[in-house]
């Protein structure tokens, strides 16, 4: 059972965990990942960010990633929530919750889903940075080569 949600509303991690575990008596393991907005990136203080996405493709892309994870591991529930629009520092951006009978599959699938999402799902971050002089400016966040390298380990 998959729940994929792309939305502007804030993310409630406790509610998302509760949704994953609701009446789930088959799985003994749940692995979760939560990504949030940092206050520092690429040498600058970050005051907030806005996430742009490709509405027609985003959910389709996330569904395909989750389907591939299911092809690799025996998974019970998968809950994947990603925020778009304006966000503040410390806000949660993404939640992935995965259940399985045993922990190895849950850990691996959670990491796999994030590694694929980071390199394939059509989201782009634009952050507001604060200069030492107090001035603010906006810039697009650069993709990291290390994210591509992480993906390659899955073959």
């Amino acid at each position: 059972m998959d729940r994929i949600d792309v939305r502007e509303a804030p993310l409630d991690v406790a509610a998302e965990y509760a949704a994953v575990q609701q009446a789930n008596t088959a799985d003994g393991a749940c692995a979760m990942f939560v990504g949030s907005v940092r206050d520092f990136n690429a040498g600058s203080a970050v005051g907030g960010l806005a996430l742009e996405h490709y509405p027609g493709m985003t959910e389709k892309s996330l569904r395909a990633i989750v389907a591939d994870a299911r092809g690799r591991w025996p998974l019970g529930r998968v809950n994947l929530v990603h925020r778009v629009g304006p966000m503040q520092v410390n806000d949660e951006i993404v939640f992935v919750g995965v259940t399985s009978p045993h922990r190895q599959a849950a850990f691996a699938a959670c990491q796999y889903i994030m590694d694929r999402l980071k390199t394939e799902a059509p989201f782009w971050k634009r952050e507001t940075v604060r200069r030492a002089c107090g001035a603010e400016e906006e810039r697009w966040v650069e993709a990291r080569a290390s994210d591509q390298a992480e993906l390659e380990k899955w073959g």
Binding site: Y54, H82, E120, R126, A143
Partner: protein, 81 residues
Amino acid sequence: MIKVLFFARLRQQLGMGELRLEDFSGTVRSLCAVLCEKYPQWREHLDDDAIRVAVNQELADSDAAVAAGDEVAFFPPVTGG
């Protein structure tokens, strides 16, 4: 007619988010060439190995076929999560 979309930094660099093209049939590569001919100032941004392409909302390479009714999107490397 095909629908062409641009996102994020690329959309800002080109100063356009969407356009429609009549009577096009070819590949992503030939579409890119047509666009760069029509808007020469786009070449430095669009004709770049880092730019990703999706055809009908699925990632595609430059050899992918493009025909009437298709939606083609060009965008920079993604930075979600």
